[in-house]
Symmetry: D2
Subunit: 332 residues, 4 copies
Amino acid sequence: MTIQIALLGAGRIGKVHARAIAATPGVALAAVADAMPEAAEAISAAYGAPALSIDQIEADDSIAAVIICTPTPTHADLIERFVKAKKAVFCEKPIDLSVERVRACLDVVRAENGTLMLGFNRRFDPHFRAVRKAIDDGAIGDVEMVQIVSRDPAPPPPAYVMASGGIFRDMTIHDFDMARFLLGEEIDSVMASASSLVDPEIGKAGDYDSASIILTTASGRQCSISNSRRATFGYDQRIEVLGSLGSVAAENQRPVSIEIANAKGFQRPPLYDFFMTRYVEAYAAEIAAFAAALQDGVPASPGGDDGLKALVIAEAALKSVREGRRVAISEI
Amino acid sequence: MTIQIALLGAGRIGKVHARAIAATPGVALAAVADAMPEAAEAISAAYGAPALSIDQIEADDSIAAVIICTPTPTHADLIERFVKAKKAVFCEKPIDLSVERVRACLDVVRAENGTLMLGFNRRFDPHFRAVRKAIDDGAIGDVEMVQIVSRDPAPPPPAYVMASGGIFRDMTIHDFDMARFLLGEEIDSVMASASSLVDPEIGKAGDYDSASIILTTASGRQCSISNSRRATFGYDQRIEVLGSLGSVAAENQRPVSIEIANAKGFQRPPLYDFFMTRYVEAYAAEIAAFAAALQDGVPASPGGDDGLKALVIAEAALKSVREGRRVAISEI
Amino acid sequence: MTIQIALLGAGRIGKVHARAIAATPGVALAAVADAMPEAAEAISAAYGAPALSIDQIEADDSIAAVIICTPTPTHADLIERFVKAKKAVFCEKPIDLSVERVRACLDVVRAENGTLMLGFNRRFDPHFRAVRKAIDDGAIGDVEMVQIVSRDPAPPPPAYVMASGGIFRDMTIHDFDMARFLLGEEIDSVMASASSLVDPEIGKAGDYDSASIILTTASGRQCSISNSRRATFGYDQRIEVLGSLGSVAAENQRPVSIEIANAKGFQRPPLYDFFMTRYVEAYAAEIAAFAAALQDGVPASPGGDDGLKALVIAEAALKSVREGRRVAISEI
Amino acid sequence: MTIQIALLGAGRIGKVHARAIAATPGVALAAVADAMPEAAEAISAAYGAPALSIDQIEADDSIAAVIICTPTPTHADLIERFVKAKKAVFCEKPIDLSVERVRACLDVVRAENGTLMLGFNRRFDPHFRAVRKAIDDGAIGDVEMVQIVSRDPAPPPPAYVMASGGIFRDMTIHDFDMARFLLGEEIDSVMASASSLVDPEIGKAGDYDSASIILTTASGRQCSISNSRRATFGYDQRIEVLGSLGSVAAENQRPVSIEIANAKGFQRPPLYDFFMTRYVEAYAAEIAAFAAALQDGVPASPGGDDGLKALVIAEAALKSVREGRRVAISEI
C-alpha cells in the first residue's frame, strides 16, 4: 500500500525532498505546508499534492509520515507534535541548537515510541557508503585513523552564520556524524583549533570559518577533520580511512570529467559547486531509506540519537577551541 | 502548451524514454503501443498513459510526436507513416540496415517536410558534450586527430549479432557518429581491420568482435576507433581529440569512485557495466532536446542525414575489411 | 672482470650512454671517438677516458665492446667493421634506412657470429616493462588489441626530417618495435593513413607529421598506433593492451606531479618535454642490459633482427599510405 | 675549484650521500670515516676516497666540509668540533634529542661563525618544492591551511623506537619542518593526540605509532598532520595547502605507474616502500644545494635554527599529548 507523506516546509531542501518522494516507489506526496503560500503552491502545482495547513496535515489520518524542512527553531516542536500524532517523522538536521532541548525532544519521541529519522544525507552518498561497505567487508582491517576534508565553496552571509549556531553545529556536524559512521566506536574526546581567515565578518560575529579538529575514541582511534568556508575550486568533500590492512578513500565528485591539455599543462573542470548537486543521489537515497523503513516496519536510521551525539561533539569542539584543551564528550 | 508524445515500442529502451518523457517539463506521455500487450500495460500502469494501437495513435490529432523504439526492421516504415501523419518523429538508430532503404525513407521525410531526430544518445552525454564544447571554444585549436575507444562489457548472443547487421552497423555506428560530431569535417575514406577474437560463434556468423578503424577527412584529419565486444572491467567508452593547441579527453565513468589500498596496491571498482546506466543522463538529455526542438520549432538534431552518413561509413568499413583497401565514402 | 667499452659518437645520445656506462657496475668507459674533437674531449674530460680514433679503438684488444651513436649512414659499416674486429656492438637504431643494406649487414653479423644489440630504449622503460610483465604473468589473458599513442612535443626541423627517412622509419619505428614487444606474435599486415597537419614544410619535403596505423597479426590481433609530431602538453607516450581477461596500461610520465586547484579547475603541469628526460631510466637500463649480456655471455636483446623487422614494418606502412591498401609484411 | 668533502659515517644514509657527492659537479669525496672499518672501506673502494680517522679528517686543511651521518648522540659534538676546525658542516637531523643540547651547539656554531646545514631532505623533493613554488608564485593566494599525511610503510623495531626519541622527535619532525616550510609563518601552538594502534610493543616502550597534530600560527593559520607507523600500501607522503585563491597538492609517488583492469576493477601497484627510494632525488638535490652554498659563499639552508625549531615543536606536541591541552611554543 502506498504510504502518504506530507512535506512541512517548501523551501530549497523541501523541493529536493518533494522530487525524491515523487521518484520513490511505494510512497506518495500527500500534502505540502509552508508559511509562505506561494512556496507551497509551487510544489503543489508540480506534483499534484494539495497545499494544506500544518493543522490539516496533523488531523489527516491517511497521512502516515511527515518530512520536516522548516526553519531549525521549529524542528523540535514539530517533531514532538507529529510523533504524538502517531506519524513517522523525517527531520532535517539539527533537531535544535540546544543540547538540552534535543534531549527533551528525544524523551518525547521515546515516550511516544515514535519514529524519527535525521537528515544526515551524506551517509547515503553512494561513494561514502562504498567506503563504509569496504570497512564492513574487512577490506582494510581494523579502523585506525579517519581523515575528513570538508569545505564549502564560499562562505555564507554573516546573517546565516548567526542563526546557524556556528560552524561546528551547522557545518562540521555532518563531519562529526560521518566520523561516527566510519570509526566504528563512539567519540571519547575532542581537540579543536579554529580561526576566521576567510571572512572577517564571520569572526566579528563570534564564529570561525577555518577549523581543524581531532576526535579520539577510547581505544585511541583518531579522526582528523579539516573545514573551511571557502574552496574556490568547488565543494570539497573527501574521506579517507586508514586501517590495519590498508586504506579506503572517496575522492571528490565533479559534474564533468574531461581533461584539457595544452602548453600550460592538464586542466580538469572544478568540482560541484553546491551541496544539492553534489549530494543529489544521497538525497534521493535517504528518502528511499525512510520509505523502506516505514514499509518494512524497521527502525529508521540515522535516528534522533545520532543527531544528539553529533551535536554534543559540536559542543565539545567549541569548548575545546575556547578553553584550549582536550574536552571529554562526557563533560557535555 | 504541453506536447503529447506517444511511445511506439515498450521494451528496454522504451522504458528509458518513458521515464525521460515523464521527467521532462512541457511534454507528456500520451500513449504507448507495443505488439506485446503486457509490455505496453507495464508502462501504461507506471505513467498513467493509455496503451493504444499504432492505428489509434496515428489517428489521434492531439498527439504531436512519436518515439520509435520498435525492432529495427519496422523503423523506416513507421517513420514514413508518422511523418505522413504530420507527427514529429524521434527514432532509435538505425533507420534501417540498408543504405538504399534509408535513402528512400529520408526522401519521404523531406517530401513531407517532416521532423526526424535520430537516437545517437552519446552526443548528449555531458562529458562528450564538454569535449565538443572545448573544441568549439577553441581550447585545442584546429582538430587534427580523434581517438575513440568503445568496448562492450561482454559479447551479445550470436542471434543478436545476426539480426544486428554486424559490428559496424550495430556498435561502431555510434563511434562513426561521434567521429563526425568531433572532427568538424566529413569523413572521406575508411580503412578497417577486424577479426573474431572474443567469441568464435560471432566469427562463424560472419561477423567480427574486434575491430580497428581509421577514418580520414579530405584535409587529412584522422580518427582512430578501437572496438571490442569484451572488456571485463566494464563499459569502456573514451574519446580524445588532439588539436593544434592541445588535446581534450573524456575519461571513463564509473558508478562508485572509491579507491582501496593494501599491500597489493590501489584498487578502484569497475566501470559501469551497461549502456543504460552509463548513458542515463544522455538518454534524458536527448529527449529533452527533442522536446525543446518541438517547443521552439527548430530542427531536431541529429537528424535523418546523420543516421544515413553513419550507416554509409559502416558500409565502407565493412568493404574495407573485406577488400583490404582504403574505401572512399563516395563509393557507397 | 670489468668490461671495457668504447663510445663511437660523442653527441647528445653519446653523452647519455657515457653517463650510463659510468654508472653501471662491471663496465668502464675505455675510450671515446668523434669526428669533432671537442665533442670527444668533453666526454673524455668528464669521465677520464681517452679520446681515440676509430682505428685506435678497433686495434685495442682490451676493448671488448663499442656503442655506436654516430650518424645513421655510418651505422651499418661500423657494425660490420667491429663485429669483424670481434667486439660486441650496441648500435642506436636504425641500422640503416635501406632494408637491403640492413639485411646485408645482418648477414655479416651472422657470419662473424657477432653480438649486436639495437637501441630500442623503450623496451627498458620501467613502466612499459611492467606492462609486458603483466602480460607475461597472465594478468590480462590472451593479448587481443594494443593501443599506442606516441607524439613528439614539437616537430623537428625540415632538414632533420629529410635525413631521417621519414616519420615511419624515424619515429614510428619505436612504436613498431613496441607493438612486436607486446603483441606476442609477428605482424602480418599493415594499414596506414598519414598526412601533414602540423608543419607544411614537412609535407613539402614529402613526409608526414600525423599518422594512424593498424597492424594485424595472422591470428587477428590488432595494434593501433597514433602519431603526431606535435603535442603542446609534452612528450605523449602511452601504451595500453586489451586481453581476454582485462587490460593493462602505462600512463604518461611527468617530471612534477602536483595539482593546483582554483576557480578555473584543477591544473597539473605538462609532461616531460624531451625523450632524454622521459626515458632517462630506460637509457640506463638498456646499457645495464648490454653489460649484463656481455658479462653473462648471453645474447643481447633486442638484436639486429628486431631492428630489421621494425624497419620492414615501416616500409610496409609507407607503402600502405601510398597505395591505399593493406600491405602484407611478406611483400617487403 | 673542486671542494673536498669528507663523509663521517658510512652507513645506509652515508652511502646515499657518497653517491650524491660523486654525482655533483664541483665537489669531490675526499675521505670517509667510520667506527667500523669495513663500512668505510666499502665506500672507499666504490668511490676511490681514502678511509681516514676523524682526527685525520679534522687535521686535513684540504678538506673544506664534512657530512655527518654518524649516530645521533655524536651529532652535536661533531658539529662543534668541525665548525671549530673551520669546516662547513652538513648534518643529518636531529642535532640532538635534547633541546638544551641543541641550543648549546648552535651557540658554538654562531660563536665560530660556522656553516651548518641540516638534512631536512624533503624540502628538496621536486614535488614538494613545486608546491612551495606555487605558493611563492601566488597561485593559491594567502596560505590558510596545510594538510600533511606522513606514514611509514611498517613500524620500526622497538629498539629503534627507544633510541629515536619517540615518534615526534624522529618521524613527525620532518612534518614539523615541512609545515614551517609551507605555512609562511612560525608555529605558535600545538595540539596533539597520539596512541599505539599498530604495535603494542611501541606502546609498552612509552611511544606512540599513530598521531594527529594541529599546529596553529599567531594569525590563525592551521596545519594538520596525520602520522602512522604503518601503511601497507607503501610510503604515504602527501601534502596539500589551501589558500585564499585555491589549493596545491603533491600526490604520492610510485616506482611503476601502470594500471591493470579486470573484472574486479582497476589496480595500480603500491607506492615506494622506503624513504631512500622515495626521496632519491631529494637526497641528491640537498647535497647539490650544500655544494652550491659552499661554492657561492651563501648561507646553507635549512640551517641549525630550522633543526632547533622543529625539535621544539616536537617537544610541544609531546607535552600536548601528555597534558591534554594546547601547548604554546613559547613554553618549551
